[in-house]
Structures are given as C-alpha cells and as structure tokens.
C-alpha cells in the first residue's frame, strides 16, 4: 500500500430539502486500501456512495478520482466497479453475459472478453457456472458473480454498498473474508458502506464513522475501537461503560476525572486539557476484572450483580454501582471458577491504561 490518494472528496455538500445529507465532507481514500463508511441509517453514508458512483451530484464541493475531477461525470464514464446491496445482476443474462457486460460496454475485443470473464470467474471460484442464470444460483454465488462483474474491467476503484446484508450469518463471515482476501490480492482501492460495526472492524484498513452528514472519526479499526473521538463513536462501536464528569487534575500521563456521582477515575491520556474541563471516561466491558480481597487496581468500584447473561465461552455481567449507574462486564468463563449469582456484592477494577479519556468540545 502506498500513500497515494485514489479518491478524494473535497467539501462535498448534498442537501435534500431541509435535510443535510452530507455536510461539507472531506475524505481521502488511499491507493489499495479498503475504507469503510460506517454509520446508522440516515447518516449520509449511502449519499456519499451515490455521489462517488455518479448516481447523484453534490450541491457543492468536488470529487477527484486519481486526480481527475469526476464531480459531474456520468456514471458510465467513471470506470468504477460497484457491488449493489441486492447484487443487481441482470436476471435475463447468464453468469458469463453478466460478467461480460461491462467489457462489451467498453467495446473490448471478443477474445479478450472471453479471457477476462474466465479470469474473473476463476478469481471468485465460479468456473463452470458460465451458462447458469442468476436465479439458478444461491445468494452467496450471486454475490460472487456481482463481485466478478465489478472487477472484470479493472476498475479504478471498487464500491461496495452493504453487499453482505442479504446473506445468512455463517455465509456472510466466509464471503467477507473472501472479499477481503481478493481485495488485497488485486490491490483494489475500495470504498465500503455498511451499518454493521462488526463487519467494518473485520474488513477495513480504515473506518470513517459517519453521523448526521459528517465524519465523526476517521481511523484504523484499532483506533476507532480503543480511542473513540467522542461519545457517538464510543456508543456506536462496541459496548462502552461511560462515566461523565469533570477533570480534577493530572500528572504527566494520567488524568483524574470525578464523575457526577463523585467517584474518582484515573485514565492514561496523551493530551490532557486543564482541570475543570468536561470529560468522559470510557472503559470497555472486557477490560474489567473482578477484584478479590487484597487486589490492587488503579480504578475500582463496588456494586451488586443485577443481571448475568451466560454465552458459553464468556458471560456478561451487569453490575449496579449506585447512583443509577450500571457497569457492564464481559469475562471469559473458566472451569472451577466460583460462579456469581444475581445479588452478589462485587468489586470490579481496571487499570488506568485500559481506560480512554474523551474530551467533549464545549457545546
């Protein structure tokens, strides 16, 4: 992967009546990377994809593909491969005809078309299915035909619009990994749109989390999960325990935050604002541990087990820690370990390095 930019949106604005679907969005997709646009429905992610594909035009701003301004170029001239939500395979054409379609539109020579179609079907492991019609194939196979059709003409970038939504869970995981492998193998710059955070974490090089027409955070899956930039991202990705309060003080790397119920938390952070600022402490449920008598922890809180959900390999505890606060804990189950009952008194703790400090901009 190089750092060269393949696709760039500059101050893209799109409104529908009173609704701002895209609010002056800037985004760069690097050569060869798979960048995911993740967001709830209505966040503007589909609008962004449609602008890139050319199915809609922005009200203002620019879209550049490999340095060329494509803002107002018709979709047919963009050389972009796209896999649609419901595949959008042409039902009256065979698999081979479907895959050959983009090449025929480019007036590729017959022999070359045959060679490319064979290659693309080989890539998705559908050699031998050339004469089938889409409706004679399973959902997973149709998905692969759609992928073959999107890559057969060597597109500049690949767009994926929630392409796994219609597949059942097991198949979805398998196809996701397959697509990821092919994307890397072919070094295809890809823009992937989804509302499924797990999918985004599995597949992406980088994730752009969108909300209300803006990109809330852009970063690697690791950054997005471990260091969410704000409350929205923390809530949207994974499960979070959030304590909001005020910054009391700090030494070099550790900030002290007292939450509204008066509990003091310590959290390791890079940039620590001045005391008195509003701050939120985030700790993920799997970072919590049960403290036995005599155990040390930089952060500790005591409470009563309110709910237990047993998941086999792990269990989820919901702990009532007073003042209307609930703490969620996710722990591995071990044989021989004392099992907890609802109502048991427990102490939970975590280290300052396992927590993350979110400083909210003054609103």
């Amino acid at each position: 992967m190089t750092n060269e930019t393949d696709l760039r949106l500059e101050q893209a604005l799109k409104t529908f009546g009173d609704v701002t679907a895209l609010d002056h969005v800037d985004l760069s997709v690097r050569n060869g990377e798979l960048l995911t646009i993740l967001g709830p429905s209505g966040s503007g992610k589909t609008t962004l994809l449609r602008l890139v594909a050319g199915f809609a035009e922005p009200d203002a701003g620019k879209i550049l593909l490999q340095g060329r301004d494509i803002t107002y170029l018709p979709p047919a001239k963009r050389d972009i491969g796209m896999v649609f939500q419901n595949y959008a395979l042409f039902p009256h054409m065979t698999v081979a005809e479907n895959v050959a379609f983009p090449l025929q539109m480019r007036k590729t020579a017959k022999a070359e078309i045959k060679r490319r179609v064979d290659w693309a079907l080989g890539i998705v492991e559908l050699t031998g299915y050339e004469e089938r019609l889409p409706r004679q194939m399973s959902g997973g196979q149709q998905q692969r035909v759609a992928f073959a059709r999107a890559i057969v003409f060597d597109p500049r970038i690949l767009l994926l619009d929630e392409p796994f939504g219609a597949l059942d869970r097991k198949l979805r995981e398998q196809i996701q990994l397959e697509v990821r492998r092919l994307q890397q193998q072919l070094n295809l710059t890809s823009l992937f749109v989804t509302h499924d955070q797990e999918e985004a974490l599995i597949l992406s090089d980088r994730i752009a989390v969108m909300n209300k027409g803006r990109i809330e955070q852009l970063g690697t899956p690791h950054e997005i999960y471990e260091k969410p930039a704000n409350r929205f991202v923390a809530d949207f990705i994974g499960i979070s325990n959030l304590f909001s309060g005020k910054l009391e003080g700090h030494d070099k790397q550790t900030a002290a935050v007292r939450d509204e119920a008066g509990t003091l938390f310590h959290v390791v952070a890079d940039d620590i604002p001045e005391a008195g600022s509003d701050a939120v402490v985030l700790v993920r449920p799997e970072r919590l541990r049960l403290l036995q008598a005599g155990d040390e922890a930089e952060n500790r809180i005591s409470g009563e087990v309110a709910e237990i959900v047993y998941l086999g390999q792990s269990e989820k505890l919901s702990i009532d820690v007073g003042a209307g606060r609930r703490v969620l804990m996710h722990r591995q189950t071990k044989l021989g370990e004392v099992s907890l009952d609802v109502g048991a008194s427990v102490n939970v703790g975590w280290s300052a390095a396992d927590a993350h400090l979110i400083v909210e901009a003054a609103q």
Partner: protein, 285 residues
Amino acid sequence: MNAVLSCFRRTGALREHAGPVALSLPTVIFLLILFAVPVVQLMLLSVQSGSFEHYEKAFTDELYVTVLLNTFEIALFVTVISFLLAYPLAYFLTVATPMWRAVGMFCLLMPFWTSILVRTYAWMVILGRRGIINETLLSLGIIDAPMSLLYNTPAVLVGMVHVLMPYMVFPLYAVMRRVDPNLMQAAFGLGAPSWRAFVRVYFPMTMPGVLAGASLVFILSMGFFITPVLLGGGRVTMIAVLIEQFVTEFLAWEFAGALSMALLTFTLLVYGAFKWLMKSERNLA
C-alpha cells in the same frame, strides 16, 4: 351435477378442487351454450354439403385471400403502432408522480367507459370532409380543398389503435413496475450509455409485457368489425366485415362459416406463436 361433484369428493386428493369446480360451473355452462355450441354449429354448417368446397373457395379465390391478408396486415400495423405509442406512455406511468399517474390512468381508462360506437363516430367528426381537422386547416389557409382523411386504411388504423392501445399499455405497465431500478443504475455504473442500458437491460426485461400486449392487440384486431366498417366506409375490408356481409346480405351461412373457421384457425395460430415466443422468452429470462 351432484354426480360430478361426488365423483371429485370420493378421491381425497381432488376434494379441494370440488369448490372451485362448482364455482366455475355457471361460467362453463354459459360459455358452452352461448359460445362453443354456436361455433361448432357454424363449423358443421360449413361442411354440411359433405365437401370442403367453401374452404376451397375461401382459400383459393383471390378476393378472399386478399381480405385475409389485408386483415393480417391491418392487425400487424395496429399492433406495431400501439406498441410504439404505448411503450413510452407505460414508462411514463411507472416513473410519474402519483398525481400524474392517476391522471394518466384516468385518460387511459376513459375509453373503456365509452361505447366503441361513440368513439368511432367521434373520429368521423374529427376526420370528416367538414371535420375539425379539415375545417381548421382550411381556415388557416394551409390547404385549399378538404383532404380525404376518412374511409381509408389510415383512418381505420387510427380508430383501431385508439380503441386497442389500453390493452398494450396495461401489460407493459405491469411488467415495467416490477423492473428493479437498481438494474439500470448497475448498467450505467458498469459503463453503459443510456440507450445501450435500455437495449440490453430494460427492454429485454419488459419483453414479457410486450408479448402479452402484442398478442392481445393483434388477436383483438383480427376480429374487428365496427371500426373498419364505419371509418373504412366499405373501402377497407377486413374479414369480420366480409363474414357479416355473407350472413346478412347474401344469406350464405355455409360460406360465412368457412370464413369464420379460417379466421378462428388463423387467430389460434397467432395465439400459439405468441405463446411459444413467451415460453422461449421465459426460458431465457
């Protein structure tokens, strides 16, 4: 009737069919008495003399062959013109806003609520020597003498297309509504200019509607009577007109029967051809 029903009841698997069979009986009896029996009688009449002389005449006499071919030609023209007009209209209805769709549907359905006779006379008022078109062109000084717009094949075509177009629009509309709009976007995205996306994706997908509409219009055209009589003014002879003349003017029922059989056979052949096309289309799509 009860015997028939109990016969169905006895076999458990067929019991569920007893209800539908009973419900369809009135229609079946109605059609048997008023349609099948007269048709068979007419057919028998045509071979009453024990020979096929009437058929020989119908298929060898140049006059009747010409009329048959003429009928076929007019039906073909009506079908093609209806298709050319109905296709964009049906497309408009699928993409129109609900308000415009309601307006379009109303305009399409209106002819159905008006007698075919009234509509045909309306065309005579429009196309006549002193009709709206001639009067307007004369008063504007575009022409010096009235044109003869009536009593020729184009007049018959106009009248027939007007009556039959809804039969083309509705099957097309039904099929077009089911075409996934994503497919056209996919075609554009994959590099197809609008017209190629239309030719390669949209049109083939609406083919079942085209065939259904075309078969309806064609078959109905073949037996058209009032419009060719009134707008053709005796100069445009379609086979139904000829049959009527043989029955009411020459009282030659036997020959009318033979001509009817010829029309029926021809219609069934056309119907079979369309069925075959639709089937191969379905195998393809």
